[in-house]
């Protein structure tokens, strides 16, 4: 099991990378940026899959399945609407 310290380390570094990359994002694209980061943070799907699919009591797995559904909805709609919006900017 990873220790708390190295997780914190990853968090801080990832935040700095995030700040650095996001600051350079074109101002034209803030709306698609939000839907894209939303889809990416739906990586929570990974946690939901484990809770839903492992050999847990029924109530736990129901919680997991609802979470999985919510994350999956975000992934599908997030990526699709981002692409739909970006297509409009590319046409020119």
């Amino acid at each position: 099991m990873t220790d708390f310290g190295s997780m914190l380390f990853v968090f801080v570094l990832a935040t700095f990378i995030g700040l650095g990359v996001i600051r350079r994002v074109s101002r034209l694209l803030y709306t698609p940026l939000m839907s894209l980061t939303n889809a990416i943070s739906a990586i929570a799907v990974v946690g939901s899959i484990v809770v839903t699919g492992a050999d847990h009591p029924l109530t736990i797995r129901i919680l997991g399945a609802v979470a999985l559904f919510a994350s999956m909805t975000n992934i599908v709609s997030g990526f699709m609407i981002t692409d739909r919006m970006l297509k409009m900017f590319k046409k020119q």
Partner: protein, 468 residues
């Protein structure tokens, strides 16, 4: 298998970073979606292949349901993108809250509670509180944006509101601390449920005092919360991938919140606890200046004689779905040799970048979309500023009138143009409930009516040959 999992996580993380990196230019941005989808697929597949996953049917069912709901949600009209975004923050928060709840009951059910370390439990409470408050807060925001009937549009305030809000949050945190100190206490599950309920209530209380004009900031803050909830989930589940992806989302929300706050000259706390848009005491300004109304014919003549026109769109354009008519006017004017630009205020509309997306949908070249800071030096040389459903972002009172809630907010200098044409739906003040001094200036002419209808009439004037 463990090594493959780690490698897949590193690959997915790198792809996510590239996805955001490519968003720095509209030309490369679509690559970002491909990178994001690839990263997500890698992460899902390697997780699913773990040997401990045995109930595949449930996973398949939940994924199919996610597609069934997600695909229609991605096809909403672009004017509805703010509420879709708020809804997706709600889903993100819900997922974090539910996974946190599931983990809590799994851990407390284990003999001896080997997972119940103070650090992990603290992360779990942060996950659950952030998750559930983002869930209901974002649902409220989505409801306000969608103008659902039973959710009040105007800010709801009452005496002691901030005291109540902070009180609810403090009780939830205090209960969390109690459980961290006594994780195996018999009352722990009840206390946990109380925390979840308090977070759900807090989310609602947090959003009811917030009005439409503050939505770009609020959506950005909720975005940051949803990201942080995912980070906390990463700490709980011991997943670096989750921590990284959540941190990317959180930092994006943070940066957008800062930009939105700056564009309104307000602080985070002021947005969340300041209740913008309260009916303000009428300013005792001596004489009431009158509007000068212009006809469509007169307006089209003004536009036709102009060499440079700057169009300033606002939420009114989105409400009227007028972006395609804007495009027709843009074409008509450009054909006559008029230089047309669009001045985009960072908080115009209901979410960051809202106006850009609507205008791009109408095929307006993005080179014509100019940021506030770049367009303002050009405003004094502009012949006509056409204000289209924008209000507070062009109100000159923001520069000097300390009595208005928008004092200090940077504005687009529409008033400095030689002539101002303002299209306005009604004679009422805007969402923030503030009188706009721009409308009564000597060089301002008003066009009253629905933005789409007014533009259609204008375009017709050009097309019918009424102007030569």
């Amino acid at each position: 298998m463990h090594l493959i999992g780690e490698l897949a996580a590193v690959l997915a993380t790198s792809l996510f970073i590239f996805a955001l990196y490519w968003m720095n230019d509209p030309k490369t941005a679509r690559r970002g979606v491909v990178a994001g989808v690839t990263g997500m697929t890698v992460a899902v597949v390697t997780t699913w292949l773990q040997p401990e996953i045995i109930h595949h049917g449930w996973i398949v069912a939940a994924i199919i349901l996610g597609f069934v709901v997600g695909v229609p949600l991605s096809r909403v009209p672009l004017t509805a993108v703010p509420q879709r975004t708020a809804l997706s923050h709600a889903f993100g928060g819900l997922a974090a809250g539910l996974v946190g709840t599931a983990e809590f009951f799994l851990w407390t059910g284990e003999a001896g509670g080997p997972h119940l370390t103070p650090f992990r439990l603290s992360a779990l409470f942060i996950e659950v509180i952030l998750g559930f408050l983002t869930f209901t807060g974002s649902l409220m925001a989505a409801g306000k944006l969608q103008e659902v009937r039973w959710i009040p549009q105007r800010p709801v305030t009452y005496p002691g509101q901030n005291f109540v809000n902070i009180g609810v949050l403090v009780i939830a945190i205090a209960l969390g601390v109690l459980i961290v100190l006594n994780p195996t206490a018999p009352w722990a599950p009840q206390a946990f449920i109380a925390i979840a309920v308090l977070a759900v209530i807090f989310g609602v209380l947090l959003i009811i005092p917030i009005g439409g004009a503050d939505m770009p900031t609020v959506i950005s803050i909720l975005n940051a919360y949803a990201g942080l909830a995912a980070v906390a989930m990463g700490f709980v589940l011991d997943s670096k991938l989750l921590v990284t992806a959540g941190a990317l989302d959180g930092s994006s929300g943070l940066i957008l919140s800062i930009i939105m706050c700056r564009a309104m000259n307000r602080s985070f706390t002021n947005v969340l606890f300041g209740a913008f848009g309260k009916a303000q005491p009428a300013l005792a300004s001596g004489e009431q200046k009158a509007w000068k109304q212009e006809t469509v014919e007169g307006a089209s003549q003004l536009l036709d004689q102009a060499r440079t026109v700057v169009i300033i769109p606002g939420y009114g354009m989105a409400v009227a779905q007028a972006q395609h008519k804007v495009r027709e006017l843009f074409d008509a004017l450009t054909k006559r040799g008029v230089i047309v630009k669009f001045a985009i205020h960072p908080v115009a509309g209901r979410m960051p970048g809202h106006m850009n997306v609507l205008l791009a949908e109408a095929n307006i070249p993005y080179s014509a979309l100019v940021e506030m800071d770049e367009i303002n030096p050009e405003m004094p040389q502009t012949d006509v500023a056409l204000v289209l459903g924008a209000n507070d972002v062009v109100n000159p009172a923001a520069r000097y009138n300390k009595g208005t809630p928008i004092y200090g907010m940077p504005i687009i200098d529409a008033d400095k143009a030689k002539t101002v044409l303002a299209v306005k739906r009604s004679k009422n003040p805007g969402f923030a409930g503030i009188d706009n001094e721009l409308y009564t200036l000597d060089n301002t002419w008003m066009l009253f009516g629905d933005a789409k209808a007014v533009l259609a009439d204008l375009v017709k004037q050009f097309g019918s040959g009424g102007i030569h």
